[in-house]
């Protein structure tokens, strides 16, 4: 299947700016993983991030989600600065993510994994659970119902197997579950970290279709996708950002970006770009 076999969605999205990162820099001792990167995402937009290995893509993602605090620069979510916020608070503020190596809660069921995704939207604490069990039970019931519906919308197959242990799922289903869990948090933005890694062509096509379906169901939801698979990058994102050695070397539509000499150089090396 060639890169151009999927209909591309490039309708211009003039939504408001949801996420903004200004001058993001991350230094680990002597190593600068990310250097002065500006990033922005509008509501409903899909941004792809590509770059050779070690370019700083995952680091950038970790900066946006609060796992690292930027050495310089700041992240703004709907105008609100996320500086100094802990990862769990940022998740609650509306940034959800998946992980390169699917981090599921293996000892729990598929349904429970999705319910946990709703943690930031629920409120029962220890005292409520102990002293007002009816409230706690009602909350859990609501979560279970919502999680069921969410699973159904992501994949009816997963919905069927909602009581199965998450650790027993095959790779493609694990990704889907992670995405369902991320959506459960009712986020503004979903960050996908190499969602197609470990997948073959067929699974990747299914993944692309899944994400497109999700976008149709949640038009205001923004996506940032780190990827290596060019099929995915060519079809899904409105814009593609290219990182190399921690710096941004391109930020435009895929067509424009793939022709940039700097980008070609980064991927293919100097000689090929002069060919």
């Amino acid at each position: 299947m060639s890169i151009d076999s999927h209909p591309t969605h490039h309708a211009a999205t003039a939504g408001p700016l949801v996420l903004e990162g200004r001058g993001l820099t991350m230094r680990f001792g002597g190593l600068t993983a990310v250097q002065g990167v500006d990033i922005h995402l509008a509501a409903g937009e899909v941004l792809g991030i590509i770059g050779p290995n070690g370019a700083g893509k995952s680091t950038l993602l970790n900066l946006l989600t609060g796992i690292y605090q930027p050495t310089e620069g700041e992240v703004l979510l709907q105008g609100r600065s996320l500086k100094g916020m802990a990862a769990h608070d940022i998740a609650g503020a509306g940034i959800a993510r998946t992980f390169q190596t699917s981090r599921l809660f293996g000892s729990l069921s598929v349904l429970d994994n999705v319910i946990i995704g709703m943690h930031a939207r629920t409120r029962c604490g220890v005292l409520t659970a102990l002293l007002r069990p009816a409230v706690s039970r009602a909350e859990m019931k609501r979560c279970a119902e919502r999680a069921c519906a969410l699973l159904q919308s992501v994949s009816s197959d997963l919905h069927q197997r909602r009581n199965v242990l998450a650790s027993s799922l095959p790779q493609a289903d694990r990704r889907r579950l992670e995405i369902a869990r991320a959506l459960a948090a009712e986020p503004r933005i979903v960050l996908l970290d190499e969602p197609s890694s470990g997948m073959d062509d067929r699974d990747t096509d299914a993944l692309i279709a899944d994400i497109q379906r999700l976008r149709e169901g949640n038009p205001a939801l923004g996506f940032i996708i780190i990827e290596h698979d060019m099929r995915l990058i060519a079809t899904l994102p409105h814009r593609v950002m290219v990182l190399d050695y921690g710096r941004k070397i391109g930020d435009d539509s895929f067509e424009a970006v793939r022709r940039l000499p700097r980008v070609q150089e980064a991927y293919l090396g100097r000689k090929a770009s002069h060919a």
């Binding site: 959800a96 993510r97 599921l104 706690s136």
Partner: protein, 393 residues
């Protein structure tokens, strides 16, 4: 680590009669087994009963359909199950024929079951090692004892105050444990336990190595717990009073465990056990939830400590050593982490067994250690391993 138990979606099992029969049958069988075990005199009887129990257990667990049916039955007939449990608990001392030694065993077993349930929040649900449960137990006991001896505070108020004091200790313990992991975290809790134990040993106002004596007997509406209970001409020894308190506490612990387990809190604990980073990404404040686990553990342990102090009316630091904490850990792990029933059965079994095998007298402790090791090798997931939550009732 996790075996992939694919659990079929719960079927709508035939209700009422069948399920009720199952509930009553299992509850009665359990009660009878317990009674015989407690009253057994010779070690042959004890081992025979154990063998029966083991056989029944293995038979059920080898047939997942049977197991699921039993669990479903209890889920459907919840009021009946609770009612049966309450009735059995109330009637039990009479069934024991007023044997005070048997009742003593039950009280201690109940207290350890409470302690094991307390630790289960941390160890079972959240996989946080905590070697200081014994210290929380001791702080609860000492707080009550001091209040009762020096200020004449009543048992019932002591329960609450001591639990509160222990909870504060739990928070203090939780805070340094936030940044540590695994062996390092284990050591922090061990260190706390030892510091508490040594302080209790050395401070004058805790009675030093001699401990505290003369804790007064609790009273309820004028009835002193030292006095026997008399009903329709039959009487139970004074211990029965403490038995009822201990059982009530166990009931409270079970309810707490269930409520927390099935709530957002229990799920969060399980999540951070499986993957802390993913848990954070889901909005879980991992640090705060870990501290909460410490606090809940300490709270229940403090309760148990109060009951213990008033029951034995004399406590010393050596009742609350590192080895006590280790014992509690063993109960949780052998019983089945994050499984309420498993933890209780494990606690009962491992608390009563050394006592019932008095024939081995001096070799008891050695035997206990060997049993634990054998258990862990043969059944690493515990007597009743963790079950997947059921959301469809």
């Amino acid at each position: 680590m996790q075996t992939t138990t694919i659990q079929a979606p719960p079927q709508a099992a035939p209700r009422s009669a069948g399920s009720a029969a199952i509930v009553l049958g299992v509850a009665l069988a359990g009660a009878v087994l317990l009674r015989q075990f407690l009253l057994a005199e010779s070690w042959i009887t004890v081992l025979a009963l154990l063998a029966c129990f083991a056989v029944a257990l293995v038979a059920v667990q080898k047939r997942p359909l049977v197991e699921d049916r039993i669990v479903a039955a209890f889920g459907q007939c919840r009021p009946l199950a609770v009612g049966t449990g309450v009735v059995l608990a109330l009637v039990f001392p009479w069934v024991l024929g007023g044997d005070s030694y048997a009742m003593h065993l039950m009280i201690i077993a109940c207290l350890y079951a409470v302690l094991a349930l307390a630790l289960n929040f941390q160890l079972g649900s959240a996989n946080i090692p905590n070697f200081a449960t014994g210290a929380s137990y001791g702080i609860g006991a000492y707080a009550s004892a001091l209040l009762a001896i020096h200020f004449g505070v009543s048992f019932w108020i002591c329960l609450l105050v001591a639990a509160a004091v222990a909870t504060i200790f739990g928070f203090l313990l939780g805070l340094p444990s936030m940044r540590t992991r695994d062996s390092y975290q284990a050591l922090v809790t061990i260190a706390f336990g030892i510091v508490v134990h040594q302080l209790l040993m050395n401070l004058e106002w805790t009675g030093g190595a001699n401990g505290l004596v003369g804790i007064p007997s609790p009273t309820l509406f004028g009835h002193s717990f030292n006095d026997p209970i008399t009903l329709w001409g039959h009487s139970l020894p004074g211990q029965a009073n403490f038995y009822y308190v201990a059982v009530a506490l166990l009931g409270l612990a079970i309810v707490s465990a269930q409520r927390l387990h099935s709530s957002r809190v229990g799920l969060a604990w399980n999540a951070l056990r499986d993957d802390e980073i993913a848990a954070r990404a889901c909005g879980i404040n991992v640090t705060w939830f870990k501290v909460k686990a410490f606090a809940v553990d300490a709270f229940l342990a403090g309760f148990a400590g109060t009951v213990y102090a008033f029951y034995v009316s004399f406590i010393s630091p050596d009742n609350f050593t590192f080895l006590v904490s280790v014992t509690i850990m063993t109960l949780v792990i052998a019983g089945g982490m994050d499984n309420t029933l498993g933890v209780i059965v494990g606690a009962f079994l491992l608390t009563m067994l050394p006592e019932k095998l008095r024939a081995f007298s001096d070799y008891r402790i050695l035997f206990y250690g060997l049993v634990v090791i054998a258990f862990l090798i043969i059944r690493p997931r515990g007597i009743f391993p963790q079950r997947v939550r059921n959301h469809e009732h």
